[in-house]
């Protein structure tokens, strides 16, 4: 209570507030040191984006070229296509997978058969561990018009086989929903764990008041998850432009390249294959800037709306 009462005329000084709390600082110290060494110090390397980096000259010795590397990217006819593709894919993934994870957790929490629930959970977590390369191989196989399971089912039901991977309009859906398949179990873990903290008394009180299970889930469980949900949403917004290239690259083919070429695959082709560190660093920097703006904006908005924010 001494922390909360602030007399009208004086605020406590920093040292006074720190009193008794110095050990909290020590709690933070190891992390801070490691982060300074391995994250902050390397930041000087960002300038590679503005230089024409040559290994022999080192970072400081390489010629300063200003925004030239960025220019190279943006003068490519494809640049905006890749940005568009990346954004669409990212937003679609986020909007689709977010509710799925929450709903899954809520449903699992409601399931009465504990054993069955454990089985379902084990199964839904497993896809997370399958490497991307293998998963894409399986996907292409399942969707094959000739030998794939999906088309066999379609044919058995009397329909025509569909060449899924050949239709560019299907590509985004395939990408996103296979991603949901792979990650929904894993993403629901944190919600499920959070739900373990819901007080049983709330539920009991609600039952007494005559609430159905569904209403209880809606009005007790769901709001309880709100802070976690908000936080995860914000965090995910912070990686909107940073879709890794492996999955898109593995699922890319000539027919879908209009939608499957994202920033990271493009940079891989031009930057990595040509070993052009300056180029890839410049694009990474661009990504970081955009992601940051997004993150700050979303955080501010949710902060105003719900009082929950990252900082």
């Amino acid at each position: 209570m001494s922390d909360k009462t602030i007399s009208k005329k004086q605020k406590k000084t920093f040292l006074q507030r720190m009193q008794g709390n110095w050990d909290l600082l020590f709690f933070c110290l190891p992390g801070i040191i490691l982060t300074i060494v391995y994250h902050y110090i390397p930041i000087y390397g960002i300038q590679i984006a503005f230089r024409n980096y040559k290994a022999k000259r080192g970072i400081w010795g390489s010629q300063w070229v200003g925004l030239k590397n960025f220019q190279r990217f943006f003068t490519s006819a494809f640049a905006f296509t890749t940005i568009r593709n990346t954004l669409v894919l990212s937003l679609y993934s986020l909007i689709a997978s977010f509710p799925v994870a929450v709903i899954l957790a809520l449903m699992l929490n409601s399931l009465r058969h504990k054993r069955y629930r454990k089985v379902i959970q084990a199964v839904t977590y497993a896809p997370h561990f399958i490497s991307v390369v293998v998963m894409c191989g399986m996907l292409i196989l399942f969707l094959s018009p000739r030998v794939g399971v999906v088309n066999m089912v379609i044919k058995a039901l009397g329909g025509e086989t569909i060449n899924f991977m050949g239709k560019s309009y299907m590509w985004r859906h395939i990408y996103v929903w296979s991603g949901i398949w792979q990650s929904m179990g894993w993403s629901s873990v944190i919600y499920f764990a959070a739900l373990a903290g819901v007080s049983p008394e709330h539920h009991e009180a609600a039952i007494v008041d005559g609430a159905t299970k569904f209403q209880r889930v809606l009005h007790i469980d769901l709001p309880y998850l709100a802070p976690t949900m908000t936080m995860l949403l914000i965090l995910n917004c912070g990686s909107i432009l940073s879709i890794g290239f492996e999955k898109a690259y593995a699922l890319q083919n000539d027919l879908n390249i209009g939608v499957s070429e994202i920033i990271s695959t493009y940079v891989y082709k031009v930057g990595i294959i040509n070993r052009d560190v300056s180029f890839s660093t410049a694009i990474d920097l661009f990504n970081s800037v955009v992601n940051s703006i997004l993150l700050i904006t979303v955080n501010a908005i949710t902060g105003k709306m719900s009082g929950n924010s990252l900082w």
Binding site: I140, R146, V147, N253, D254, V270, N274
Partner: protein
Amino acid sequence: MKKLALVMAVLMIFTCTSALADFHETNLPITDEKYEFSMMIDDSGYPEDKIIYNMLEEQTNVHVNLNLAPYALQVEKLGIALNTGDYADVIAGWLLGTKDIIDLGMGDQTFLPLEDLIAKYAPNIEEVLNIPGVRESMTLPDGHIYCIPYVVGEPEATFKPYINQVWLERVGMEMPTTPEELKAVLIAFRDQDANGNGDPSDEIPFSGDPNNLSLGMLAGWWGVDANSGNSDYPYFALVDGKIQFNANKPEYKQFIEFFADLYKEKLIDPEIFTQDLETWKAKGKQDLYGVSIAYGPGDYFENFNKGTEEYAKYGENAFTYLPVLKGCENPIYHRNSYGVTLFRTQAVITDKCDEEKAAIIIRWFDNLYTNDNSRQSVSGPFGIKIEKLGEHLYRELDTSNFTDERNEKYGWANIFTQSLCRYYHDDVVLGAGKTEVEKSFNDIGDELYGPYLNEHFPAVWSTNEEDGNRASILATDINTYVKSKMAQWISGEANVEEEWDAYLAQLDAYGLEELTEIHRRALGEAQ
């Protein structure tokens, strides 16, 4: 004071001479004491399996510290290594491109110039350099040579479509000679039970290896070579010594229309643009292909029906080359080489090496370049897999009684880093128990395709960095566009007739003219 100077002088002479005494300028071993250097190369195996290196070490006293990883991984690691300054003494294999040699060799001397070392210590390599045309191609505009030359025989035409002769027989048709005849054959494949399994509807008349699909090569049937595989100038070709872009020519449009028609008639594998390698191979192994584009005869196709009478007639393989079809008066086909290819970026010595180390390394390579060593590194050790009959003449030994393990141990991929340069080009290798050389499949192909092959790009070193950077962006954009349009048109997702004019305009918008100019400049230095 004088005494000290004397002692020091003696010590110095000692150390100098002992260093030199350790390294032999000629003859083996190369050093008296065990010596070591590091080499980074792309290979899928493990250093302990590479037994030929042990053999070479016994000869030379030099141990090679191998840093191995499969190509895709190793390229990434190389990027990191070069950019951070932590690289090996030697970088070799398929990892480097001409741009690297220009930037890191000529540009900032990360790679050492080798011509003096070769002249002084490496007579075998010098011999290779003296083959007509080699030295010029290996020398950069600054007069230095930065790589060890890798001369190897290659087919003049590689990558061709193959046709199933047994199926041809079963449907009672002749080998096609024109595109229209091909279409008729494909229709027969489609409608009849060509693979003899009782189901007339499961045949796939035409398919292709997804990793080597360069369909644009087949535009040669109509007179223009729009090849995109394994090329520094995808979709470009040399015509009368001048470089020109071919994916916008009327003949190219004809090629597209033909294949779009085939696709519409269900004569082409619907998965041709979407399948991965495993799916394509698996279908082939089930005897589903009439015509397919592939690396080579390989054993993709021979796993079925082997031993039946029909197949026995054709020997090992039911598939043979589809001839160059006459889509016009003078069809052409993409030329891969003039019989011999020089790989110019195979092995470099980095600036991690001082003079003595570089000399030792060059001598080690020179030892590898002796006939016997090069041959053994490819075929296996003498006495186990191969025997020597004379100069450049060898014969394989019978290995049919080898256990699986033994086969594995002496298998081609395990005994050596096969992506490394050597010299075994002149060798004649007889099969086990044979006394004559049989015509290889590649020879047959070259004979068949020889008359139609076009000009091959000369080997140049394009040294303009601005141009190089600009070209890489333009080329990526244009190639992606052409490739995706080709796929869309052929598969019927879009119509070539309707879109042709827009396509031409778009190519211009992507900077085609500029790219062509850059290529002209690069080649013009040699033309």
